[in-house]
């Protein structure tokens, strides 16, 4: 029943996106093509990042077991381009804050889902051999959705001209956390030697914390005026 397993993983990965799209009211605003445009921007930004990484970062020939902290840190810094891309998408969309955030985040996350998850699932989950990593991959895509919504909200807040001074610092910290979340996760896994399920749990907790904080700040900002 391996096609069944592929169906399981695919529905676990894709249905939350579908639910979010339907229930956030985006479908009423005919936001489908805007999301597709956001997805296209995602592709473009990833391409630029890859070219940049390939050109300027040499492969590190150290020992196999030692983790190259500095190198990975530098690579994670390149992920700042993600923020630029999100900002670009949001600035091109006219509308309320929530609309902009949701459109950008949905398009971005869906593009990431299709590009980085569909093919491994198709090739791997259909095979005879069973592995837990496909279920974990699908869960991970759910977590990514929440992560990108939070990231888009933080970027939006950062670029507001009427952001109160006291908010600057928390917003910047959250921004930094968003960008370096991947790096932090790898650090945790390497230092504490976490198993795959534990790492997933830690990632979920971290994303949840970031998104709660950003939601709190967002609500405060929107309803303070």
């Amino acid at each position: 029943m391996t096609l069944f397993h592929f169906g399981n993983c695919f529905s676990l990965a894709y249905f939350p996106y579908f639910i979010t799209y339907k229930c956030s009211g985006l479908s009423e605003y005919n936001a489908f093509w805007r999301c597709v445009q956001a997805g296209a921007t995602y592709l473009f930004v990833q391409l630029c990042k890859m070219l940049f990484l390939a050109t300027f970062f040499p492969t590190w020939e150290g020992g196999a077991g030692v983790y190259d902290f500095v190198g990975e840190f530098m690579k994670a810094t390149v992920d700042l381009a993600d923020l630029l891309g999100l900002h670009l998408v949001m600035s091109r969309n006219a509308g309320k804050g929530e609309y902009k955030i949701m459109v950008a985040a949905m398009g971005w996350a869906t593009a990431e889902l299709i590009m980085s998850r569909c093919i491994p699932l198709w090739v791997g989950a259909r095979g005879i051999e069973f592995d837990w990593k496909y279920i974990q991959m699908s869960f991970d895509s759910n977590i990514s959705l929440v992560h990108y919504i939070a990231m888009a909200a933080v970027v939006w807040m950062f670029t507001r001209y009427d952001l109160p001074k006291s908010f600057r610092l928390p917003v910047t910290i959250l921004l930094g956390l968003c960008v370096y979340k991947g790096f932090l996760m790898e650090l945790f896994v390497h230092v504490f030697l976490l198993g795959s399920w534990t790492a997933l749990l830690v990632k979920a907790v971290l994303t949840g914390a970031i998104s709660l904080c950003s939601l709190f700040l967002f609500v405060t900002l929107v309803h303070s005026n």
Binding site: M1, T2, L3, F4, H5, G7, N8, S11, L12, F15, P16, I19, T20, C23, S24, W122, G124, R126, G127, I128, E129, F130, D131, I135, L215, F216, V219, T220, H223, S224
Partner: protein, 553 residues
């Protein structure tokens, strides 16, 4: 009406295109998963000899793995370790029409206790005698295979004994294994050529010299062709023959020691399959050639078969030699040399009449005996039915070759006495520089046992045949190959292929696991849907939390 029809057709077409695309993708895309473990398996023998079929018929496999303790074995791949193997368990698997049997052998056979090795050696002919359609494989054990075996054993023994809840829990955590072999169904190999090699040393002094023929068959036999190394049977015989060739070629190169006997050396192939090589060679030489050394004056034919580590030496004859014949001379010399120079060796003659009603001949000398040539076989085994002649356990052990070199010395000494007619002497005839070289013997046996020498694996281009030919041509003259191909209409022997395959073990979960997972995912999605629908509640809560602060400003 037509409009409606066209509308329906339009709708159908609109949906059929993406549907057919999906269907096409599903059906056409090849599945290539990575296996949990990939290892080589060696199949049991499969051959026809004189019309009788032996061994396991089938080769393909795609079944779940179980161990022998499981209750349901049908259409499953049964895995057994050598230590737990017994004939009853094997019969049980066959009775329940198992999909396949895989016997796991340890990497280093010397770690196995002797009684298990002995028991398996005795079982081998029984395994082959029952013709079966179930493929039987042998695999060498490594860590991953051992872990697969232990996991399968745990899941096999727990079936049918626990409650429903335990079974459910079990399905979520356990790993099943699916064993798949690559390769096709086995089929007969057409036009296989068994090669035999001959070479000679011509005696001094004109025409019509008597000929002594020395014969050894170089192939080996066991329950799995790729695992039959045949160290003793007949690697030792080949080593002795090659050493004698070297020794006598040296002696014959000096005028003083050039004797008046022709020496004909013959390395026969297909020896374990009723001596096919020898049979055809005799037919060709005696029936189809005008003049051959075998037609004229043959003093005797000495066959060498299994001369390894043992303190016994038997001369097997089909007719006791007559007084005054060269055969009798050799028998007497062997007794003398054994008694005087190697008292620890127990030498005796064993008389066994040729029984033509048997399926196969007992010893190689019987082929010559049928053609009325005086022949006998030297072996340390007392009976031709000894399991040591047909076992995969016959491997090069770490022990020294003392017994082999002693037997070689005895044979060389006795032959020298007969050839040079020095039967009166009591002391050794062969001096120090004409002695048997022990390291030469050791390296020959090492080389012979480094690869399997089953007859199905040695075609005329194999490296073993080429090396033997090269070695013979260093010391002997007129080294010739002799090929035996099975007759087209009534083949004496038929070999089958697919003897070595790669087996993949895939980790699988039972079908109920997928259903369970689907239920869990559906409930998770339900919870998520509810959470998203009621997101407004969280939003309102946070707003109420932040609102008082705003009011204070």
């Amino acid at each position: 009406m037509f409009e409606e029809a066209s509308e329906v057709l339009e709708n159908m077409l609109k949906w059929s295109v993406p549907l057919s695309l999906v269907l096409f993708l599903v059906l056409v895309c090849p599945l290539r998963a990575e296996a949990a473990h990939e290892f080589s398996v060696y199949r049991m023998q499969q051959y026809d000899l004189q019309g009788q079929t032996y061994g396991s018929r089938n080769a393909i496999l795609n079944t779940e793995a179980r161990t022998v303790d499981a209750e349901v074995l049908s259409r499953r791949c049964v895995m057994v370790r050598l230590a737990d193997f017994s004939y009853e368990k094997y019969q049980k698997a066959l009775r329940q029409s198992a999909g396949a049997v895989v016997i796991i052998l340890p990497q280093n056979m010397s770690t196995m206790p002797q009684d298990i090795v002995q028991q398996f050696m005795e079982l081998e002919p029984e395994l082959l005698a029952t013709e079966t359609i179930v493929p039987v494989y042998f695999a060498l054990e490594d860590e991953e295979l051992l872990s697969i075996y232990t996991q399968t054993q745990i899941s096999s023994s727990s079936q049918g004994s626990s409650s429903a809840a335990e079974v459910l829990l079990h399905t979520a955590t356990a790993n099943g294994f699916q064993m798949v072999t690559s390769g096709a169904q086995s089929k007969a190999v057409s036009d296989w050529a068994i090669t035999s090699l001959e070479g000679r040393l011509t005696g001094a002094g004109g025409e019509d010299l008597p000929t002594i023929v020395l014969v050894a068959h170089y192939d080996s036999f066991g329950v799995a062709p790729w695992l039959s190394y045949g160290a003793d049977s007949n690697g030792s015989g080949v080593a002795v023959l090659l050493e004698l060739a070297r020794l006598f070629s040296r002696l014959y190169s000096y005028k003083r020691t050039h004797a008046g006997y022709n020496l004909l050396f013959f390395l026969s192939g297909g020896g374990k399959f009723n001596y096919q090589g020898t049979k055809r060679w005799l037919e060709d030489n005696l029936d189809h050639t005008d003049s051959s050394l075998l037609q004229d004056n043959v003093a005797f034919v000495l066959c060498l078969d299994t001369l390894g580590n043992s303190d016994n030496l038997h001369l097997h004859v089909s007719k006791p030699p007559k007084e005054g014949s060269p055969q009798h001379a050799l028998l007497r010399e062997l007794e003398t040399v054994a008694a005087h120079q190697h008292p620890d060796l127990k030498f005796s003659m064993v008389h066994k009449k040729i029984n033509l009603a048997d399926d196969t001949l007992a010893w190689e000398h019987e082929r010559f005996g049928i053609r009325r040539l005086p022949a006998f076989t030297l072996s340390h085994l007392e009976s031709h039915r000894s399991p040591a002649r047909h076992s995969i356990m016959d491997m090069r052990s770490v022990s020294s070759l003392e017994g082999l070199s002693r037997n070689t010395k005895v044979i060389a000494e006795a032959l020298a006495r007969v050839i040079y007619n020095l039967t009166e002497k009591v002391i050794a005839v062969l001096r120090s520089h004409q002695q048997v070289q022990e390291d030469q013997l050791a390296s020959l046996v090492d080389w012979l046992t480094a690869q399997p020498r089953a007859a199905q694996l040695l075609d005329k281009d194999s490296s073993i045949v080429n090396t033997l030919e090269y070695y013979l041509s260093r010391y002997l003259k007129d080294v010739k190959r002799h090929l035996v191909r099975a007759d087209k209409r009534d083949p004496e022997f038929v070999f089958y292929d697919q003897l070595k395959q790669t087996m993949n073990a895939y980790r699988v979960k039972p079908a109920i696991f997928d259903l369970l997972l689907a239920v869990c995912i559906a409930s998770y999605l339900g919870v998520l849907y509810l959470a998203v629908q009621n997101f407004g509640l969280l939003y309102g809560f946070l707003r109420r939390v932040t609102a008082p602060r705003v009011k204070q400003h």
